[in-house]
């Protein structure tokens, strides 16, 4: 499982990076990169102030 970040919504604030328990996310300048440590737990999806993240099931 993984997530998708809608880059047209994302405001590159890094809140999702701070809550990700596995360290799967990284804020690179103005976009979020997801690596293979993502477990699809959905915590980042919940925290995003703009609703830019979707968990792929």
């Amino acid at each position: 499982m993984s997530i998708s970040v809608n880059k047209y919504i994302c405001g590159y604030c890094g809140a999702c990076v701070g809550v990700c328990p596995t360290g799967a996310l990284e804020l690179v300048e103005t976009w979020i990169e997801v690596d293979n440590k993502c477990t699809g737990c959905g915590i980042c999806q919940k925290i995003c102030p703009l609703g830019a993240i979707e968990v792929n099931r």
Binding site: G14, P21, V28, E29, I47
Partner: protein
Amino acid sequence: MKDHYDVIIVGAGPGGSIAAKTAAKEGLDVLMIEKRQEIGDPVRCAEGVGKFHLKQHIEPDPRWICADVKGSCIISPDGTKVEMAEEMSGGEVGYVLERKIFDRALANESALAGAEIMVKTRATDLIIENDTVCGIKLMHLGKMYEVRSKIVIGADGMESKVGRWAGIETAVKPSDMETCAQYLVSNANIDQEFCYFYLGNEIAPAGYVWMFPKGGNKANVGIGILGSKSGEDRPIDLLNDFMEKNMPDAKIIEMVIGGVPVCGTIDRTIANGLMLVGDAARQSDPITGGGIINAMDAGKIAGEIAAKAIRNGDCSTDTLQEYEELWRKTIGKEINNSLIVKETFVKFTDEDLNSLAYSLKDINFTSMSLLDLLKALFKANKKLLWDLRGIFKDFIKNDIDFKYKAE
């Protein structure tokens, strides 16, 4: 860029810049890197700061001060207003900053003190040998480099990776994170000398809406809600609702979003050859969300301890432990007091908030001592005082001690 420095600082926010300035002034060879191409931008902050503490670090400059705040006004869910003015909070209250200019001014000070600065330069990993941090791997304009150092200071903010790379657990639980959205608006029509806070579980579940004056009829209007309450209604939706109801004439000229850790102090902020400062060390205040001053205070301590460690030739946790102790004694204590208040606050119902505001509304805060305030609060709301007993015990003790000594 050289291939070796005494200290490498990751992140050029207020914490990083003060650490860089302090270390450079101590005569150390310092590199500070910032992953963004512009220091100070985009902003992720409500930009309020206490005058007294700010002046400990930098001389206030009108170029980055937008408003001079004399007091604050808290508005409960039923509209009851509680005003607190200058004298109550110890004489000076605060400024609302222009962070874009402020952060650059601080970076400039660290440059003038001798630190080298690189922008659009991102740390991608730490170099760790024998359980000791010995530098960083970084990427600049698509190329990878390795740069060694005796000490790394992680000032890489909310999204910090530096701590995690060194095995320090810094992930924040959603219930320990306020998720925030803010607009800079023109046509704000608020008193430019006051900060406003709107409370209520409908307006902002386990959080609040703030309005900070930004000069020229502008204001930062923002909302923070507890991450665990976010999902169906996002901060941005709730903020739009609030604006529609309360500021229909305001015009949005900037959008700001971000997360604020409200977890209280974390267990560890050092490793061999490494210190974390500011939001990277989760040093933001759980009630006010304020992180600028704490980051600057921590940055200063970290810079000083870095110099001491390098002079003594021991950059292990044996020496860096002093950083840990110093910030916990000062910043840490305040953070944990605020944590008690926050844990109580997030449980309040709207009725609790209303009754509290009602019992405080006619009190003249400008003339009361803290002890008088506590007495009034105690009369009005015994349950609240019980919940907050930890923090008030300290306050009362200090106040009484002080009086006792004065007499």
